[in-house]
């Protein structure tokens, strides 16, 4: 059984992260809201419940590694890093601005980022190599890779999936943000992937399917993944793209478009964000 107090705490953090995402977008006037908001809950569970890390020492040897294969969700990534204490929250104001450490897609200049990403279909291969390398050295560190469902269309992704299954990488866990949408529309219409879970299973992965907005389920899935032996785990988190802002939910158009400033205010209002978020 999960700890109910922890669930409530994580929900509060997830709420702040959603506010931060919109706030960062409001300042940048560009960026990707849809996939950031869909992955928020499970990533909060990862960062503030499951992950071993030390934001004050981001190169700490004992840390678990996180690879954001879907680098376009940088507003989420940077908000997580700010909330964790890797970077000052104020810095989110500089997101996507010239000279900022918070680039349009994450790179290693930002503390807490292991590797630059943004070209889809590369992150899992990196994670596989990292997991193999850590295992070779007998290290207990876990590797997490956050991916989109559309990203499963990349052929190189399946090469990575195959190799992780082959090498029985039980120190590797993929979080698949299964929001059903990509840029051109519904994943099933653009290039269907169903039955997605069966595909991963066929490649020798342990599959956990959850509601990616149910915090208790997110925590349980991450717990379970740590127990699995002899297989990598994929958590297929069913989510809603744009979750939390009603007029963004399940709308492909909010994939990579920043809300205008008045729309940001509307979104912040709908999220019941505190007054200090309205200062842009």
């Amino acid at each position: 059984m999960v700890d109910q107090a922890k669930v409530e705490e994580l929900k509060r953090i997830a709420h702040r992260i959603r506010c931060d995402i919109i706030w960062a977008l409001a300042h940048a006037q560009s960026g990707h809201p849809g996939g950031s908001l869909s992955a928020t809950d499970i990533c909060v569970a990862l960062y503030f419940y499951a992950l071993k890390h030390d934001p004050k020492a981001c190169q700490w040897e004992g840390r678990d590694r996180v690879i954001f294969s879907k680098g376009h969700v940088s507003p989420l990534i940077f908000s997580l890093l700010a909330e964790s204490g890797y970077i000052p929250r104020e810095e989110l104001r500089t997101f996507r601005k010239f000279g900022s450490r918070l680039q349009g897609h994450p790179n290693v200049e930002c503390p807490g980022i292991e590797v630059g990403t943004g070209s889809l279909g590369q992150g899992l291969s990196i994670a596989v190599g990292l997991a193999l390398g850590l295992r070779m050295d007998g290290k207990p560190n876990r590797v997490y890779c956050i991916m989109g469902d559309g990203e499963n269309q990349e052929g190189s992704t399946w090469e990575a999936i195959m190799s992780a299954g082959h090498y029985k990488l039980d120190n590797l866990c993929v979080i698949l943000d299964n929001n059903g949408l990509q840029i051109d529309g519904w994943v099933e219409d653009v290039m269907g992937l169903q039955p997605l879970a069966d595909k991963w299973r066929a490649f020798r992965w342990h599959v956990i399917e959850i509601d990616g907005h149910d915090m208790a389920q997110c925590m349980e899935a991450l717990d379970q993944a740590k127990q699995v032996k002899g297989q990598p785990t994929v958590i297929i988190a069913k989510t809603v793209k744009g979750k939390g802002v009603s007029w963004m939910e399940n709308m492909a158009e909010w994939h990579g478009k920043a809300p205008k400033q008045d729309q940001c205010r509307e979104a912040l209002k709908e999220l019941a964000c505190p007054a200090e978020y309205f200062d842009f």
Partner: protein, 316 residues
């Protein structure tokens, strides 16, 4: 100069596809989940039966395009330059170019002017990776009209073509009735002291530079060279002979790119001092196009400085 119209080169790509789609039923367009931003959407809306979304799977899309070509179609592959000229390079090399198949590639969002998306989305190497491929034609149009003409030309040409264009609106500086001859530069301004050879949407900065140079008493020739490959050897050799100094301008890495292509001709025909305006072995970053042009040294001011520097070398 006040009535400059601004229009994105990608719009020229979209409009040309629609126009050619009506003229030639063999044209098909393939996309990789970037249909709207590459403007392939305009074709897709008009000819839904001739548009195929391959999802986020560029390598597969490129070889599928080769298959379409084998079936007698004229496929246009439409995605960002980084994801096609980088990720699917081997597919382009060994399938399309080696067999000289009739595949057309639209490389969108070229250059740093893509802006806030940052380095991962800014194609700064595509001209280099495409121009080393035998059989490949590489065109980097300067503005809306030139992009349209390049795409129309490519539809009629048989063989692989890479057309690179950008996201942001840029000044429309060429005219509708300017000739577009593949492999042939257009002279924008004649001059005697130095030749500036431009490739791509930086042309407007070159024109401003020529203006400033004139005020400083320097007579600059300006040639706009849209075709990187095959390159206009004649214009380059003539410029070297007649003006004795050359500055190239491109929104791309200077290593292996357009400037390198020009230098290859210069050293083999009439060696003269050269300077290269372009990205100097760095990755791009987030910012507005203006900020990035300034930071990466692509503005008129930088071109003027490069000209003054090369003139010193010319005089010895």
């Amino acid at each position: 100069m006040s009535e400059i119209k601004w229009k994105a080169t990608r719009d020229g790509y979209g409009d040309a596809l629609v126009e050619m789609g009506a003229q030639d039923e063999r044209i098909v367009v393939l996309g990789a989940d970037l249909t709207d931003s590459t403007r392939a959407l305009w074709f897709a809306q008009k000819y839904p039966d001739r548009f195929f979304d391959f999802g986020i799977a560029e390598q597969n899309m490129l070889n599928a395009a080769a298959g379409f070509a084998l079936a007698g179609k004229i496929p246009w592959v439409s995605t960002y330059g980084v994801f096609v000229a980088g990720r699917a390079w081997d597919q382009i090399r060994t399938t399309t170019c080696y067999s000289n198949l009739n595949v057309k590639i639209g490389g969108a969002h070229g250059g740093i002017s893509v802006g806030p998306d940052g380095a991962t989305h800014q194609a700064l190497e595509d001209v280099a990776t495409m121009r080393v491929l035998p059989n490949m034609t590489v065109i980097v149009p300067a503005d809306y009209y030139e992009t349209k003409k390049a795409v129309i030309w490519a539809c009629k040409h048989v063989g692989p073509v890479y057309v690179r264009f950008g996201r942001e609106p840029v000044p429309v500086v060429t005219k509708l009735d300017d000739p577009f001859i593949m492999g042939k530069a257009n002279l924008i301004n004649d001059g005697t002291d130095v030749t500036i050879i431009n490739n791509g949407p930086v042309l407007w900065e070159c024109m401003k530079a020529v203006h400033t140079l004139r005020e400083k008493g320097i007579s600059a020739r300006l040639a706009n060279m849209h075709t990187v490959k095959p390159i206009d050897r004649e214009t380059i050799a003539k410029a070297a002979r007649e003006t004795g100094a050359i500055v190239t301008v491109e929104e791309h890495q200077v290593m292996g790119g357009f400037g390198s292509a020009v230098a290859e001709v210069v050293v083999q025909t009439c060696p003269v001092p050269m300077r290269f305006i372009g990205i100097q072995d760095r990755f791009g970053e987030s910012g507005t196009p203006e900020e990035l042009f300034e930071e990466f040294g692509l503005t008129a001011r930088h071109i003027v400085a490069a000209v003054e520097d090369v003139l010193k070398a010319k005089r010895g």
